[in-house]
Symmetry: C2
Subunit: 338 residues, 2 copies
């Protein structure tokens, strides 16, 4: 896991270099002129899909939704999907339920795109179009480089569809290296503070909701923490009742509208007595016990950087608690869900 | 909270009696012939919306998604929503972000429906069509009767749109009374077992995914438990690593395809050493430490019954742990999110 976290600046930089390969896929999507986008994914890829949902609605002006594969695989639902862009996101490209949901979507008229790290996978075979994440083999059970590379692939695809030039991610490799280098000290400080924690809540708003969900999953997978994730808005809607002096809050706050909207959330959890670790390009500007800054980018690119310290925190916290983040109990790389 | 839990058989029975009032709304939806459905909600209502997403895809054959209100309220996204059915679900009908998201959806061509317990609320005013949940005033901060009544209103609306007769819920009031009466003993047994628990995972598949999410929220709100919810499929995809002998699993398993698909999930959490409390009409048939049965219904109706023991569990567990479920810390009834 440590080695794969460190590979990310190179993986991201190389993917930006290869962005021209997305042009044919983006051209097909534009020609199809979708009215609606649907994303199918599980686990970490589902958080990448949540990020892509925001990109699609805000940058492309297309309504979109996350697929519940089981409506197709369990209940046999066959909605008419003509005019629908159906994007399936899967590192392995091997989960039977996602392959089946994609095949079924294509039969029902959707333009199907597979976003996967495994060219030639069953998923890439069944989808009409395919995007290679290009992260290289991932051996660690907890996804790290495939997560950030998936976010970038989805961003580059959306950017290409809108006719962008990729300018906002031109330096992403260097920025990722800087984010990792700069996070070492603050993450060590956070690990010291959180070593004995039982209750963790992760939260963010807008694009960073996806980062909060992914951070909670990494902490659950590697440190066996019962970490819960909420969008900042949903947290205020009820679950803040479960936040108290015995709770650590990992709050993602990057420069932009999502970060700004975190202000009342941060005020509420501080009032509840929680220990707050703030992560993101706006972390330096908020009251928190530990602040983990990352370089500032366009707001829609921020999730690709702000997840890096969260991955490192999951790794180091697992080690500090006597765990082995590369051998989490009960976990396989490809889940055979139906 | 106790009084409002007990009111549910009456509330549900009365709502079934009044189902004819939905005919004009259903007629408008049929006439509109939507191509997609979008649901906007927060908190408990968001879990009701997840249930409605399954109903819409399976029973109406319409693709659907859950709205992230912040793409509109924070980022100003204005996707074209012509041909889209936009359903906003809110007990209070007062959350500014939901009112704004609904107003914006209507301006962009969606047919907007408000499902609310507050006729005349800002939400009901701004939506083109309105459905009254009719649960009566809810004083407890943790939503109970408005949740089950919202599920039923959404079911009755979908059933009316498909031209159904409501036959599958004709006896729902009596069944709810039976579910509550039958749960008293098993819930007391579960409270005894779970009194000192720190780690709770709730899980279900298909329609019951919504129940799992709602149960986790109730436990978080009333007992300050760090309860996490996963669809059974997502749980196997990674977070099962955080399940061990120190974990209680609240598993929803009702007769039907969703309950049947819980088999590998139950096997995995038992193998991990978790203490399993099974709830639902198929609970008697699965290996579990405690089984809380409810009457059998059509699978798509099961979430309305299976949530009742979960609400009672949240209430009784809070009391057993010295809490006051009617005065949860840090919680307000209407959240002013933007």
């Amino acid at each position: 896991m440590r080695a794969e976290i460190a590979e990310q600046p190179g993986v991201l930089g190389a993917a930006v270099e290869r962005r021209g390969a997305l042009a044919p896929v983006a051209g097909r999507v534009r020609g199809f002129a979708p009215r609606f986008a649907l994303f199918a994914a599980r686990g970490s890829s589902d958080h990448a899909a949540l990020y892509a949902k925001y990109l699609t609605e805000v940058l492309l002006g297309l309504p979109s939704g996350l697929v519940s594969p089981s409506t197709t695989t369990l209940y046999g639902a066959r909605p008419d999907l003509s005019g629908v862009l159906h994007v399936t996101v899967s590192q392995s490209g091997g989960s039977p339920d996602l392959v089946e949901a994609t095949r079924s979507a294509r039969e029902r008229g959707a333009l199907t795109v597979a976003v996967t790290n495994t060219p030639g996978s069953p998923l890439a075979e069944v989808a009409e179009l395919s995007v290679d994440i290009g992260a290289g083999p991932e051996l660690a059970v907890a996804a790290t480089k495939t997560y950030s590379a998936t976010l970038l692939a989805l961003y580059l695809l959306v950017d290409a569809v809108r006719g962008g030039t990729g300018a906002d991610v031109a330096d992403l490799g260097e920025l990722a290296a800087s984010a990792l280098a700069g996070s070492e000290g603050p993450v060590a400080e956070a690990v010291t503070r959180l070593r004995f924690v039982d209750r963790v809540v992760t939260t963010g708003r807008g694009y960073s909701s996806a980062t909060a969900a992914e951070a909670a999953l990494k902490l659950a997978e590697t440190s066996y923490l019962s970490a819960r994730s909420y969008s900042g808005a949903d947290l205020l809607h009820g679950p803040v009742a479960a936040v108290g002096a015995d709770t650590a809050v990992l709050a993602f706050t990057s420069a932009g509208r999502g970060g700004a909207a975190m202000e009342p959330v941060l005020a509420a959890v501080r009032e509840a007595g929680a220990d707050v670790v703030a992560v993101g390009s706006a972390a330096a500007e908020v009251p928190a016990a530990v602040r983990v800054g990352v370089p500032r980018t366009a707001e829609e690119v921020a999730p690709i950087l702000e997840v890096l310290p969260a991955q490192r925190l999951a790794l180091e916290l697992s080690l500090a608690r006597g765990g082995n983040p590369d051998r989490p109990r009960g976990l396989n790389k490809v889940t055979q869900t139906r």
